[in-house]
Symmetry: C2
Subunit: 491 residues, 2 copies
């Protein structure tokens, strides 16, 4: 097995130093170190052990989280990889963040972790303090209500529930009818109403039944699972680079908006649309972008047809696009804010921000045993403090621009391999297509073998999802490995 050791070219590209990941992770590796194939023999043996009780076929490798640090993940065989997939975009401030490790030893954290309460009925005395010092400090404009959940899927489905309840309440005015209370017990209308959620082709909103009914990423995610007969609208298929296709892209977006409005009107006579859900960048489906103007028009259409507007920021939220929430770039303006914004992943806590008008009409309607997890809420508070005190959102905006220009310089030499490079102005939330899925998969394998762990999405897309502590040194390592692999693949 060949042994690759970095840094072989750490000095080749030099940038003005504005942030180093070492500031936050003094003991982080400076470069990858690859000792075996990835997965190596120890990973494979451990996967086999796991395979006795769980499906191991989606394993990339088995990881050693005790040894991982900052931007670098260590696998079972001691390979050290620069991780720009970050547990499917779920790590904000690096593995084993020293201030988080320190905080986790506190009585506050330990007791919150071990005494999980039923938050809806027996909240802890510190609950409003924890929320106001943490999750509420980043509440999207106009949204002052918060319902915590345990994952992104349940955040989205909670938004659906709140939207359905508010929609019916608005239609009905007063209290439930006897017929509603009776029919809902047998899952029939009017108690179980024939309403729908509109989603977009290529969108991904989770894997349970209602969220999966709105997910339109891949057949393998959906096949064999019963689904609600809910509508899907086309999402603009833009041409890149955007600045070279302004007119075509504008036409494409207008075409999609017309179709959205047609669906909203058509559904009124079948299953009226109570809410539409949209990601600011359709991530799992292949990193599809649209213009702020498109999203502003969508929002207006929703308002025009009295449809709630849910923005799914599970993957885009918490800074990676260079603003805290990706939808900030739409500049929706007062009175045009989303009705719901959902989050999870990097926040570690999950939930939905909303408005008082969509609070359920009675207690116990939006309710479950745990209603979220205080321990993850505290972790979120600490993560947000680190993000804030180190300006990691504006850092990500800057480093994203640097990463984009660095990769652009390289990609110009590989026009057959790199297509539709996109995400400029979206922080480190960058991606590109490759000619087909097998070439994309080969590329991912080769860069991993050279110490950079990246993920794919959609059919043939490579997506970068670095952490917010991704710094200049990491840009250099990433760029070197990508360039080396592209050169090899071109030959």
């Amino acid at each position: 097995m060949s042994v690759l050791r970095f840094p072989r070219s750490l000095t080749r590209r030099t940038f003005s130093r504005h942030f180093s990941s070492i500031d936050l992770h003094p003991s982080q590796p400076r470069a990858p170190s690859i000792l075996t194939s990835v997965p190596g023999p120890k990973s494979l043996a451990l996967s086999e052990e796991i395979g006795k009780f769980q499906d191991p076929r989606a394993h990339y490798f088995v990881a050693d989280y005790e040894k991982s640090s900052g931007n670098y993940i260590v696998d079972a065989d001691g390979n050290i990889l620069l991780d720009v997939f970050a547990q499917v975009a779920s790590i904000a401030v690096g593995y084993n963040s020293p201030p988080l490790l320190e905080y986790a030893k506190s009585d506050e954290f330990i007791k919150a972790a071990l005494n999980r309460p039923g938050l809806g009925s027996f909240p802890p005395v510190q609950w409003s303090e924890w929320i106001n010092q943490g999750l509420m400090t980043v509440a999207p404009n106009g949204l002052d209500q918060l319902c915590t959940t345990l994952c992104g899927t349940s955040a989205n489905e909670t938004a659906f529930k709140l939207a359905f309840m508010a929609y019916r309440q608005r239609e009905r005015g007063g209290d439930f009818t006897t017929e509603e209370l009776e029919t809902c017990m047998s899952n029939h209308s009017p108690g179980s109403p024939d309403l729908s959620i509109l989603s977009f082709k290529g969108g991904f909103h989770g894997r349970l039944f209602a969220s999966l009914s709105t997910t339109r990423s891949k057949a393998l995610h959906k096949v064999d699972i019963p689904a609600f007969d809910w509508p899907a609208a086309p999402f603009p298929q833009l041409l890149y680079p955007l600045e070279d296709h302004i007119k075509e892209n504008q036409e494409e977006e207008e075409k999609c908006l017309l179709e959205v409005e047609r669906i909203l009107i058509d559904q009124k006579s079948t299953k009226p649309v109570a809410a539409m859900i949209i990601e600011p960048i359709l991530s799992e489906g292949g990193d599809h972008h649209a213009s702020p103007s498109f999203f502003r028009s969508l929002r207006s259409l929703a308002k025009k047809h009295s449809v709630y507007f849910i923005v799914d920021e599970v993957q885009t939220g918490v800074g990676a696009t260079g603003t805290f929430w990706a939808h900030e770039k739409w500049e929706l303006g007062k009175g045009q804010e989303p009705d719901f914004v959902t989050f999870s992943k990097k926040m570690q806590a999950s939930g939905v921000y909303h408005k008082l008008e969509t609070r359920a009409s009675k207690p116990y309607r939006n309710y479950n045993t745990w209603m979220g997890d205080p321990m993850r809420t505290l972790q979120a508070r600490q993560i947000l403090q680190i993000i804030s005190s180190h300006n990691l959102v504006s850092h990500t905006s800057t480093i994203g621009a640097l990463l984009h220009s660095t990769l652009s310089e390289i990609f110009v030499h590989f026009p057959q391999l790199i297509l539709n490079f996109r995400g400029k102005g979206e922080g480190t939330f960058l991606s590109w297509d490759m000619p087909d899925s097998s070439i994309r998969d080969k590329f991912l394998l080769l860069v991993r073998q050279r110490g950079v762990h990246m993920g794919g999405c959609g059919e043939k897309t490579v997506r970068l999802r670095p952490m917010l502590v991704f710094g200049e040194e990491e840009v250099i390592v990433l760029a070197d490995v990508v360039e080396g692999v592209l050169k090899m693949m071109k030959e």
Copy 2:
């Protein structure tokens, strides 16, 4: 405000000492202490603060988890209550369990808590060890596969997904057809199949869309939320005490079984039933019991009609009924095991045990970002070690019998107030009805005001859900308070 102080009668009833909660919680209070109304002024003020961003109307009181200990919960006003509701049956070994607190300071726990991985793709090197030392040690007979999730609802919905996928795979044999792959993208049959889950009236399986479609507890849980048109079968309405109504109850169970089979047959021409889901005791719906023979017949019916059999042990599991799993009492025998057993709550970790034959046919079909939480898995391992080393399951069986006979002695004097006392032989999983919901609610309020925190379920039921560390001293405190309140209500 009157001040009640215990123990006023701790010596009145004496039992042979076989377990004291003090063994595991040396600093636990010996009795309640009530200083204010519950909720008191501090609770009310904190609820109002929380009410600015979250619905506070289901709050009982705001709790001080740092001060709570063992069986006793402390509220914001310093009231100390014996907690036999236990966060809706979610606390196994007591608040602030000393061995758990000690363990939580370990590097293993802290790093697992802070570095949440994507378990399906990047499991930690210790994963099989953690599972084999923990959750797998209590795997139900015949089930050697485990899929971890984040809550009971997602455990049930994951079981549904696995059942639907296995059912269609069995029908189809080979790979998906092109038509299936295409139609599922628009949520239509055959790709999104017209299959159903059969559940039982009075059952509760969660609050998201598919689980809520199987939940048949209360209209308020279901109204306004679109649901799948899935069938519900009647669950036996038994007469208590069981030993006095053997013949009527047997007839009632047979009637229900006939109806189940009728539904299974009828559905074949509309939405065939892929799986049925049942709780061993229908808990949220009002603690409805049935005989082991009924459950054995259900299991046989499922097998006869090639329907998967899901046992929802989210509330009944982990020892409270005096066996680790409540369904152990059915003695299903080899080859008749459930296909799926789901768990959450007291285990802190959540998930579904199943068989290799229901593993998804391809990777990424049963998949999501986190696929469970190693930190909760470790917490479960430690809880299971405490349960095992202190024999808390057999303890709960013994103490449950003691609690049952103690309450029976009291209840015999209040035949107008206490109806259908049930749960004999089911550990501490006891319950009774009261004449109507307002009397039940008044009873709960009065016992809480005297330092015992109990919960209701169904329309007019009181349910006891003590922790597994509930001991003799707690039986005495509970019995004294219940007797005192019943005397007062009778006057």
